[in-house]
Structure formats: C-alpha cells, structure tokens
C-alpha cells in the first residue's frame, strides 16, 4: 500500500519536473533573446543620443540644424511616452520566468522530501530504523544555529555597530551614551547566556531511546533568585535613567532664560528657523495671521517680532546652551538630531522645548569622521506625508565669533514687503473700525 502511494507520488513529481523543465528551457532561451534585444535597443539609443549631440553641436551656429535637432528631440519625445503606456511584454516573460524558477525549487524540495522518506522506508524494512534519528538531527541543527547566531551577533556588533555608532556631541548626549553602553553590556551578557542555554539544552536533553525527564515542577529558591536579580538590575537602570532624564528635561529656570533661544517650525515638508534678533526675545506667533507672504504666521503687532531673524540653516555656537522652541504649523513632525541625541515632537497647538549644549563644531567633527563633507542634520522623525523621507535642515556648530558673523548676514522676517502689507492691513482695520464707530 505504502509503495503504491509512493509510486504515484513519484510519477506525479516526475511529471511536474518534466513540465517545469519544458517551460523553463524556452524561457531561458527567451531570456537570452531579450538580453540580446536589450543591448540592441540600448545601442540604438546610444547612437540616437550621439546623433542628437551631433545635431546640437552645430545648432549654435546654424539655425536650420537647430530646427532639425528640435524635430529629432520632438520625435524622440513623442516616441518615448508610448512604451511607458504599454507594458513591455518582457515584463510578463520575466514574471513567468521567476514563477517557474520558484516552481522548480518547490519540485526539487518535494523530490528531496520523497527521497528522504524512501530512505527512511528502506531503513525501516531492513530493521535499521532509528525513530530518534530526526530528533537528534534537529537538536544538532540547533547547535549549528547557536554558533551561527553568535557569529551573526558578533558580526552585527563589529561591522554594523561601528557603522552606526558616533559619539554624542552634546553634553547630555555623553551621559546618554554612557547609559547606552552600560545597558548594551548588560543585555548582551543576558542575550548570549540565555541563547547558550536555550540552544544547548535541546541538544543535551534530546529524547533518546532510554532517557526520561526529571520530574521537577518548581524550586522556590531558584525562582526567587531570578525574580530578585533582574529586579535589582532594573532598579539600578531605572534610577540611572530617571535621574538622567530629569537632568535633561528639567532645566532650572535661570538657565532656561540665559540660553540662546531658537524657534523651529515644522510644516509639510520643510522646517523654518527663527532666531530672536537683538532683543533676545522671540516674537509672538498667531496661526490665524498666516498669509502667503507671512507663511510663518508671525504676529507683527508684537514689537519683539520685528527684529526676528529668518535663518536658512540651524547655526549654533559651540559650548553654549541653546533652548529650542519646537512648534508645528500643520501636523505632527518630530525635531530629531541623531548626533546630538536630541528629539522632541513638533505638535500643532503647543510648544515643546529641548535645551542642550553642543560640544563639537562641525569642523572638528569632519576631522574626527575623516569626511570633509560631513554635516550634522536635523530630520523629521514622525510620519507626516509623502515628503516625510526628505524633510531636513542642516545643523552647523561653529565658534562664537563665526556664529555672530553668520547671524549678521541673515535676513529679518519683517521684510519691507511685509511691512507694507502689515501697515495696509492695519490701516484697513482702523478704517473698518472707524466706519464701525460711525455706524
């Protein structure tokens, strides 16, 4: 009975394989054809391009040839949209090719499976069948996996870890880094130990012919130990983290006031930066006053706003405490500077603050990274729509003198055009008021 089933299976699989091969051979051929075609097409395209440039070269001197060149480009322009609308049949062919490839893999897997079961059956018939063979095999696989896993973790730490890690360049960031390292050491130890046990126990205690498990329902002492030890480790981490967190977020009021104030406004999909100007006070903003000209929505009734400076980048003096006011014009964004270990959301309707002190200038960082083009960057880290992946602002840390020099070159928000608009609106308002009072 069993043999009958096997035969039927073998026949079916053989057929499947044959059909698969039958289909795949022509598709290989097609594949070659198409690559040949592709090269042919690209060659013609190249020659066409060459012709274009040839035509364009005399275009400067000869107007007739310009026309012809224009005609040629027009022709190519009309020619190009057509293949875009119709999907190249090659696409379908490639798809079929991949599906067939997958089917062949499936067939091979099925054949291997059948071979294995036939092997098992013959062993059974010869009386040499070991019912625990597979059990042992799987437990060995766990050991192999363990080795591979540990190697993979090591590779990750060594290679990707070194790609990912850059020392923080702010004061509080260095404290965060210390905590990060401490946590990493703890969890790596636990990760490795747990996996050592988790994957060696299956091997050591695999089911064999005459083994029996040890009836061991509980041991209160051990359970207490592994409740209390994690609890102690966590308490240490919690306290460490709590005080670090408080020191970052809970800045004394006099330090809040003495810091340099900068306001950042997020909108789809850009950031705007506002420096307070000479008076050191950021003017009020009223979103209802947003106009195409005054897209920031600054309330110029507040005289503090008149000298506010519009900055193209975020430029900060080194070793000076900066207090960022983060606001949003439309939806939630997130103000995130990975190198600084700084992040706070920009939420419409409320202002969030983050105060920190950068310690390394961009120049020094470039030397440290050995990359003359390296820049700090502030990016949006809260899903905000189609441009989310490219909503950035360059952050530059410079010396105090360079900062002052830079600041003096920046423009004010209250431009002449805006002043005109503002006074016009103002006078209109007063006129309306006047008419209202007349009525």
């Amino acid at each position: 009975m069993k043999f009958k089933i096997n035969n039927r299976f073998k026949a079916a699989l053989g057929c499947l394989l044959a059909v698969g091969l039958l289909f795949s051979t022509p598709s290989f051929a097609l594949q070659q054809d198409s690559t040949a075609q592709d090269t042919a097409v690209s060659m013609t395209a190249d020659t066409a391009a060459a012709a274009d440039t040839a035509a364009a070269a005399p275009a400067a001197t000869d107007s007739v040839s310009t026309v012809s060149a224009a005609g040629a480009t027009a022709a190519t322009a009309t020619a190009t949209p057509e293949p875009e609308k119709q999907i190249d049949p090659q696409v379908y062919k490639n798809m079929t090719y991949y599906i067939l490839l997958f089917l062949i893999v499936c067939t091979i897997v099925a054949v291997i499976g059948k071979v294995l079961s036939i092997y098992e059956l013959t062993k059974r018939m010869n009386g040499k069948y070991n019912p625990f063979a597979n059990n042992t095999f799987q437990s060995v696989l766990f050991i192999i996996f363990l080795v591979a896993f540990l190697a993979f973790v090591y590779y990750g730490y060594a290679v990707w870890g070194s790609w990912a890690w850059r020392d923080a360049v702010t004061e509080h960031g260095q404290r965060i880094d210390t905590m990060f390292i401490v946590t990493t050491v703890i969890i790596t130890v636990v990760l490795v130990l747990v996996h050592l046990l988790l994957f060696t126990f299956p091997y050591i205690y695999r089911m064999r012919a005459k083994t029996k498990a040890y009836y061991y329902p509980h041991n209160d002492t051990i359970e207490k130990i592994w409740t209390i030890v994690p609890a102690i480790v966590l308490t240490v981490l919690v306290l460490f983290g709590f005080f670090t967190w408080r020191s970052i977020t809970n800045v004394p009021e006099d330090l809040q006031k003495s810091a340099l104030q900068v306001e950042v406004l997020g909108e789809q999909f850009q950031w705007q930066v506002r420096y307070p100007g000479a008076d050191g006070v950021i003017g009020k903003r009223n979103y209802k006053m947003t106009t195409p000209m005054n897209s920031y929505g600054i309330d110029f009734n507040d005289k503090n706003a008149w000298d506010d400076i519009q900055a193209s980048d975020i430029v900060l003096p080194v070793n000076k405490s900066v207090r960022f006011h983060i606001i949003s014009k439309d939806i939630i964004h997130s103000f995130y500077i990975p190198d600084f270990r700084v992040q706070i959301n920009a939420v419409p309707g409320m202002t969030n603050y983050f105060q920190f002190t950068p310690t390394v200038t961009t120049e020094e960082m470039r030397e440290r990274m050995n990359d003359p083009k390296y820049d700090y960057v502030m990016l949006c880290n809260k899903i905000c729509g189609s441009g989310h992946f490219n909503m950035q602002k360059k952050v530059v840390v410079v010396t105090e003198e360079e900062y002052k020099e830079w600041l003096s070159t920046q423009n004010k928000y209250f431009t002449e055009d805006l002043q005109k608009e503002f006074t016009a609106v103002d006078s209109k308002d007063s006129k309306e008021l006047a008419t209202a009072s007349l009525n």
Partner: protein, 625 residues
C-alpha cells in the same frame, strides 16, 4: 488509554440535540466553537498572507529605491506608475501592513482561534457560554477584514497615517490622500473589529469563570487557559477606550468637532478648529495600544508553555510563578502606555513615572523566559515542529524583549524613538514571537482541529527558513536605528549618512522574500493536510489536557458521553513511579498509587492516609524534596 470516554451517554445526548445541519449552519453561520476557531484561523492566515505581501512590496522599494519594477504597475496601477511606487502608497502599505498584522492576524487570528478552540476543550465545556455571540464575534471580524481590504479599491487609497493613525495627519484629508475615504473605512473597520473583540472577550471570560468541568479549579487550569483568560480581561478593559478614540476622531473628521485639532494651517489653508489636543488622541490610543501588545503576546506565551512542557515531557517549571507573572503583566500593562509618548511633549515628569512602571514589567517577563529554560533543563525533548516553533518563540521573546530596556528608558528613548530600532524591537518581541507562538499552536493542535496530521518535514523546512529569515530581517535594523534612521522613510536617498544602509536593506529584503516564499511550505502543508494528511490518533502527542480525551471526529458537544472529571494539574509528565511518561488530567489518583506525591492531595488527610497505607503495603518510599 484510560481516559477514552465510553460513550454510554452518547445516544442520549444525540437524541435530544439532533437537529438538521445544513451547509450554511455547519460551515458558514456556525455556532460551534471548533468551527468558529477554524474560521478565525483561516481568515487570519489569509490576512497574514495579504499583509506579508504588502510588506514585501515596501521592502522592495526600500532595497532598490532608484530602480523601476514595471511588474508593479500591472498589479498596483496608478500607485506605481512606471514601475516606481509613490511615497503616499508606500505609507499606505506600512499602515495597512501594521494594522492587519497587529489586529487581524495577531489579535483575532491568534487569540480568536485558540481561545475558541481550547477554552471549551481544555476546561471540559460543551461549547462557549454564548455560541451566538461567538458567531457574531467572527462575523464582525470578517466584515472588518473585508472593509479594510476594500480600502485598496478607493480612489484616494487606503489609510496612510501609520497604524497609530495620529491626528492631525489622519484627521485632515488635505495633508495626505490616504486620510480621505480610506481613513473613514479604516475607522469603520476598526469599530467593527472592536465589537468583535468585546463579544469574544465577554464570552471567553464567562466561559472560563462558569463552565469549568467538575474538579477543574482555577489552579488546575492549563497555562493556555490562564493566558487566554487574562488576555480577554485586558482586551475587555482596553478595547472600548480605542472605540472612544476612534469615535472622537470620526467626529473631528466628519462632523467638524475639534477634539484633537487646534492651530492648523494645512497646505496654506487656515483651519477653523480650535482648542483640541493631538496628545489626547495619543493617550487614548496607547491606553489600548500598549495592552494590545500583551493581548498579542500573552496567548503566544500560553500556547508555548503548553507545547514546551508536553514536548519536554516535563512539568512546566514554576506553574504558579508562570500564572503570577501573567497576572503581573496584565496589571502592569495598563500603567505603562506613556512610554510611547516620552518625546511627544507629554509632561517630562510623567514620562519619568511611566519609565519606572515600564521597566518593572521586565521582571515578570524575565521570570517567564527563565522558567521556559528551566523546563527544558533535564527534559526529554521531542522535536515536533510545534516544539521547534516554541523554542524559536522563546528566542525571539528574549532577544526582542531585551531591547525594550533601551526603549523603556526615557533618556535612551530620546535618540531611539521612532527609529528602526523600535521597528526591530517590536517585530521581534511581539511580531515574530507571537507569530511563532501562533504557528506552534497550529502545528500542535492541527490534529485536534482537522483530525489529521501535518507533514513534519515541511514543518521543519518552514521553521528553519522562517527562523533564520526573521533574524536576518530584523536584527540588522537595530543598528540602523542606533545610527538614527527613522522608520516609515520611503527611501534612504535623501541623507548621506543613510547611504551605507542601502546594502543592508538589500540583505533584509532578500531575507524577507525568501522567508515569505517559505510560507508557501506552510500554506501547502496546512491546506493539503486538511484532506490528504495522515489520520490523527486521539492523543498524538501524549498530552495531559482534556482536549485529547475527545474523539478525533468533531461532534456537537465535544464529548460523546459525560464530560470527564478533572483530578490533577495538567503537567504530570514523567512522574516518577508511573509506567507512562504522562498522566492525563482526568485520571484519578486512585489509579496512580505508585506515583502519587504527598503534595498532590492538597492536605486531604483521608487521601494521605490511604496513600500511606498503600505505600507501606507496597514498600514504596517517598523522598521529600
């Protein structure tokens, strides 16, 4: 086997309950818990495949951001014109992938399937407390799935504000196309889904509390039941809060209220809304959102406990500690939601408090992981595919859970919040771990569900490809997150510092594609075994729990005769002195005199006296531990 029920009462039972079953009442509008479990499972699998395909689509975009794939245009039409996916559609993909996986697969597909299947079976009940509510629970879920899939056929596309649907992005249609009709459908679908969960949850809780068979006191329940019971409680207390969040968002979108909206100038348009707060939504959302994580992972832990114990042929280590840690997780899960909001502008002191509660929850989780390992120690381990998945689940739970120590720490979270580190963390600890718990359940209880066995070889193939694949996909993401790469980025091309990760993205995508194709091995195995699988025996794994005392053929009311009485806890594996290495729960102590321990009698002096007399008569000495 001693526990086989003699069907003297079968005729009687059948006689008064003999009603005509049509195709419609048996397979479609079934009120039988076994059929409903299968409906949940198959719907869950379909949703899982759908959501997995979505993930592979956006993985392709991430690996080859500069390349055209004309084939995509055939399937996606205007969403991928010229073979390149649009950013809005990318966001839709991640949104719907997240929603489907979290809610439809890991909530309904996991606890819907196994709570329905195992609660009546393992407790010794003929069915759920309310079969009608049970049926409604499934159908609400089904309609929710249909509506969510339907949102792909809407002109403006499916919801695209992330699975957390934070307003104002989700509330203002001009901010992203997906926040049009697609978002409305999302909200409707989610409301129906919550109704389904509440109907199911009430049913699970009342069945566990009221319908246990004789002798099944709470401390004799298998850990699976404890897990489902506590999960249902968490769901009942937290899902209604999501309804309030969803309904208020619906009002903001459709009626013009301002619960979450204030001070908005979207696309140059000044909106009239005033006085609302987006933070309010986040509080309401995460009041469900965080318990939801435990709704997802606790059933997986329960299933894993059962499978590890059965296949180690050894009692689960520290049964009481396992229950108390589940209870601890249940209680703590309600007071940690703020750790999702450390950098949203929530009061920083509050953030500090949430950080403390969050890290406390690591203690019960650690206890569970250690107890699993202690269960393996000196076991007699049998590697069924279910056992492989259970071990894989513990591995994911540990390696994903450990990174929670970073994210739960408010100070470290500043730099890691919303980066790929978070993606890696939750995909390991709740994504992969729960999926593995679910698959372990499917392989283990398949004979109970369909009366046939799954193919083990395909099971091993499926396990290894998926296990290795999942680590290759999610482990490297930690490092991207440490580097500061945000999640939900359509391409890594706009920033010089991200360019180095494109090669890693290709590795991840290839691993994802191969692991995705490996699921074909599972699907083939699952669906072909329904008809072609080897016939199952009544108790194929030599397990102790009551479901294995029912006949292989499904019958109305589960047991043909009387419901068995329970005498002992479910983990009497390899008890010294007994001839087999398992003693089912319905075997009385009088039949196992040679293996009884003093502790078994719970202070019943008469029983201890009888046992002592027997011990003397048979020269049996008991060594007290």
């Amino acid at each position: 086997m001693s526990s086989t029920v003699i069907s003297h009462g079968a005729a009687h039972h059948d006689a008064h309950d003999h009603h005509h079953e049509t195709f419609l009442t048996k397979y479609i509008f079934s009120q039988d818990h076994k059929m409903i479990a299968k409906q949940f499972l198959i719907t869950g699998i379909v949703m899982a495949v759908f959501a997995m395909v979505l993930s592979i689509l956006f993985r392709i975009q991430l690996a080859w951001p500069e390349k055209d794939f004309p084939i995509l245009e055939i399937f996606l039409g205007k969403w991928a014109e010229g073979g390149r996916m649009k950013p809005e559609f990318f966001l839709s993909l991640v949104t719907i992938h997240g929603t489907m996986m979290v809610f439809f697969v890991l909530t309904a597909g996991l606890s819907g399937t196994f709570s329905n299947l195992l609660i009546p079976y393992q407790l010794g009940a003929r069915d759920m407390a309310s079969p009608l509510m049970n049926m409604l629970s499934y159908w609400f879920f089904f309609v929710a799935c249909v509506i969510m899939v339907a949102s792909f056929f809407v002109e403006s596309g499916p919801a695209a504000a992330g699975w957390t649907i934070y307003p104002p992005l989700s509330a203002v249609p001009t901010s992203i196309p997906g926040s049009g009709l697609g978002m409305t459908l999302w909200l409707v679908s989610m409301t129906l889904f919550i109704a389904s969960q509440v109907l199911g949850g009430v049913n699970y809780v009342s069945t566990v509390l009221n319908m246990r068979t004789k002798g099944m006191d709470l401390w004799k329940m298998p850990l699976t039941i404890w897990a489902f019971f506590l999960t249902a409680i968490v769901g009942l207390l937290s899902f209604p809060v999501l309804v309030s969040a969803v309904v208020l968002l619906f009002f903001d979108r459709s009626v013009g209220t301002s619960f979450y909206l204030s001070d908005l100038v979207v696309q140059g348009q000044i909106l009239p809304n005033e006085g609302g707060s987006p933070i309010l939504f986040q509080h309401l959302f995460w009041f469900l959102g965080h318990p939801e994580v435990y709704i997802v992972v606790m059933p997986a832990l329960g299933l894993t406990s059962e499978v590890i114990s059965t296949n180690s042929r050894k009692p689960i280590f520290g049964y009481h500690a396992m229950v108390y840690s589940l209870v601890g997780i249940t209680v703590l899960s309600f007071i940690v939601w703020g750790h999702h909001m450390f950098v949203t502008g929530m009061n920083p002191f509050l953030g500090g408090v949430f950080m403390i509660t969050t890290l406390i929850i690591a203690v019960p989780s650690a206890v569970k992981a250690f107890n699993y390992i202690a269960t393996l120690w000196r076991g007699n381990i049998r590697f069924t595919p279910a056992m492989m998945f259970a071990i894989g689940m513990v591995s994911f739970f540990v390696s994903g859970g450990l990174t929670g120590l970073y994210l739960g720490n408010a100070a470290l979270d500043i730099n890691l919040h919303d980066t790929y580190f978070v993606v890696a963390h939750f995909h390991l600890v709740m994504g992969s771990a729960s999926i593995f718990g679910m698959l372990c359940g499917v392989y283990h209880w398949y004979p109970k569900m369909f009366g046939r066995m799954m193919d083990t070889k395909l099971g091993y193939l499926h396990f290894w490809l998926t296990f290795i694949g999942a680590y290759l996909v999610f482990f490297p993401m930690h490092f991207m997150g440490i580097d500061g790469v945000p999640r939900r980025y359509y391409a890594f091309t706009a920033f010089p510092f991200m360019e180095k990760w494109v090669s890693v993205n290709m590795l991840i995508t290839w691993a994802a594609i191969i692991a995705g194709l490996a699921q074909v091995a599972f699907l083939w195995n699952f669906f072909s075994s329904i008809w072609k699988g080897k016939k199952a025996t009544q108790n194929p794994w030599n397990a102790n729990t009551l479901e294995w005392t029912t006949p292989v053929e499904h019958i109305h009311g589960n047991w043909p005769g009387e419901i068995p009485t329970v005498y002992r806890w479910p983990y009497d594996y390899s008890k010294p002195g007994h001839d087999t290495d398992f003693i089912p729960q319905d075997v009385p102590f009088s039949e196992t005199m040679s293996s009884n321990l003093p502790h078994d009698f719970e202070g019943n002096e008469e029983a201890i006296r009888i046992q002592n007399e027997w011990n003397k008569a048979n020269n049996r000495e008991i060594i007290e531990k």
